[in-house]
């Protein structure tokens, strides 16, 4: 007789009074394949844990986003936010789809150049641009988005010395009716800082004001805040035109669009409550079109969307190390995925789906990672189908920030693969090994030997 699939025995108390924080069961079918490639095969071939990126999803996402904006506004340009995921394979997919590069450090700038992006199609944001970085950017005609007055004076000094007109914009922060207001980056709109900086640029012969930039927050759940921001940006641009007779070329609305992930503390899942890319597009483009720009003089609209374009295009596969019972009776499951590789578990309740068939029975579970550190918690409360040691799981919506903010801590960072449009699997980043890490270390001569 053929043996039945084993499921560990459970007994669950039925409670009909108070809802508990573990919530309802959310998983109904296993995720056995990603883009028609078997999860089990991927783990057998490439190890566990494993990041898997779907090239198809990346391309679908950027095409949908472009469609959302281009059907509403005549001139749109996306710039790929390197910090969200700067794997070369990911960046180049976006560049193939027509996205420019948006970088926030000298390292990211060099990576964009290495990827073959023309300097004039690199947007250089952020508060930390060294003189060397700025020299490079001025020479390459990159779009320098000035963050503070010290940077403005440095750009002016360098441009004078190099005798090249720097292509600049300023980052503007503003009150859009949301909390917290991001006022640490750029120049404030309401208190006149932005105008002060713009006047300084317009009165300089060595800086060309090409655009205006803002970035009002992150994981924004209110499209209306973008409408307010776009309105204020249009006011500034029209003010510059009226005062100096200068037409700026673009308005860069930055990023910050929410993905469909579940923020911790949210009562309903992200798929139900987070705005879509169309909601954001409608808010921004309507505000610009309804502003005082003449229709034929509408500036180019630049978007630096990161998270919303990559989050759902990547998965993290992992394996159950053990099931344990905690002292208070709660079930806990230990995965081989730690917070060192799934950094976003600090602020998201990630969806965890078993990769093999399961029954309708679930247990209220705490999901821990493998690190010998108390902070290593992947899900504090989840109603999880019953998993056995060695079973696999797929964690979804992990494309944004994890592959850049992850760290080598206790365990080494795993391999990353990308599934192309034909279903071929490519290794796009190798797993780390001890030898690789030791290459960075040096041991002083007197510490080389010891006796125990």
């Amino acid at each position: 007789m053929e043996k039945q699939r084993y499921e560990r025995p459970i007994i669950k108390k039925l409670e009909s009074n108070m809802p508990n924080k573990f919530g309802m069961r959310t998983e109904y079918r296993p995720m056995t394949h990603i883009d028609n490639v078997g999860v089990k095969d991927l783990i057998n071939e490439h190890g566990s844990p494993l990041f898997v990126i779907s090239e198809k999803s990346v391309r679908d996402n950027i095409r949908n986003a472009r469609k959302a904006f281009e059907t509403r506004y005549p001139k749109v340009q996306f710039a790929w936010s390197y910090k969200t995921n700067y794997l070369d394979a990911v960046c180049r997919t976006f560049h193939q789809e027509g996205s420019w590069a948006e970088v926030v450090s000298g390292f990211e700038y060099d990576k964009a150049i290495h990827n073959g992006v023309d300097g004039s199609k690199i947007i250089f944001n952020g508060p930390d641009k060294t003189e060397d970085d700025l020299e490079k950017a001025i020479k390459n005609n990159s779009l320098i988005h000035i963050d503070h007055l010290d940077e403005l004076y440095t750009v002016r000094k360098l441009a004078e010395r190099m005798d090249i007109k720097a292509q600049v914009a300023i980052r503007v922060n503003m009150d859009t009716g949301i909390y917290p207001m991001w006022d640490r980056f750029g120049f404030n709109y309401e208190n006149g800082q932005a105008w002060d900086a713009l006047n300084k640029i317009m009165r300089s012969d060595v800086m060309e004001l090409v655009g205006l930039h803002t970035h009002i927050g992150t994981f924004m759940l209110s499209p209306n805040a973008y409408a307010v921001a776009a309105g204020k940006m249009a006011d500034l641009a029209i003010g510059i035109r009226d005062k100096y007779g200068h037409e700026i070329q673009y308005i860069d609305m930055g990023g910050g669009f929410a993905s469909q992930n579940n923020l911790k503390g949210a009562y309903l899942p992200g798929t139900d409550i987070n705005p879509t890319i169309d909601d954001f597009a409608e808010a921004i483009t309507s505000a610009l079109i309804n502003s005082n720009f003449k229709p034929e003089k509408l500036p180019l609209l630049i978007l630096e969307t990161g998270r919303a374009l990559i989050d759902d295009a990547a998965y993290l596969l992992g394996t159950v190390i053990s099931n344990k019972r905690l002292s208070d009776g709660r079930r806990s499951t230990i995965l081989d995925i730690g917070v060192n590789v799934l950094f976003t578990s600090f602020w998201y309740d990630h969806k965890i789906t078993p990769a093999q068939p399961f029954t309708q029975h679930t247990e209220d579970t705490v999901v821990y990672g493998p690190l010998c550190m108390n902070i290593d918690v992947i899900r504090e409360n989840i109603s999880l189908p019953l998993l056995n040691k060695g079973d696999h799981v797929v964690i979804q919506n992990v494309g944004a920030y994890n592959m850049t903010q992850w760290m080598q801590f206790i365990t080494l960072r795993p391999r990353i693969v990308m599934i192309d449009l034909e279903g071929n699997v490519h290794v796009v980043r190798e797993r780390e090994n001890l030898q690789r890490l030791l290459e960075f270390e040096k041991v002083p001569e007197h510490l080389k030997t010891f006796e125990l």
């Binding site: 007789m1 043996k3 039945q4 699939r5 084993y6 499921e7 560990r8 025995p9 459970i10 007994i11 669950k12 108390k13 039925l14 019972r325 009776g329 029954t359 029975h361 019953l386 056995n388 040691k389």
Partner: protein, 84 residues
Amino acid sequence: MKIKKNVAVSDSGFVFNPTTGESFSVNPIGMKIVEMLKKETPTQEISNYILENYETDAPTIDKDLYDFIEMLKQYSLIEENEKA
């Protein structure tokens, strides 16, 4: 070791403890174990039955069966004078 006499067990996986008024749901393998415990089947025999009928190994059964019986005790479904 056996399940308390007054505990009602349905075929569809529900367990009712009239002493406390509490109800529980049990998955099919758990149900099988509860039924066997009701008949005072020794745990070793239960382990053997699972090993013969399910795709698993002895250490897993040992661990999971121990955990399950602990939960039955926790919920006061096992005769109090019984020792594990």
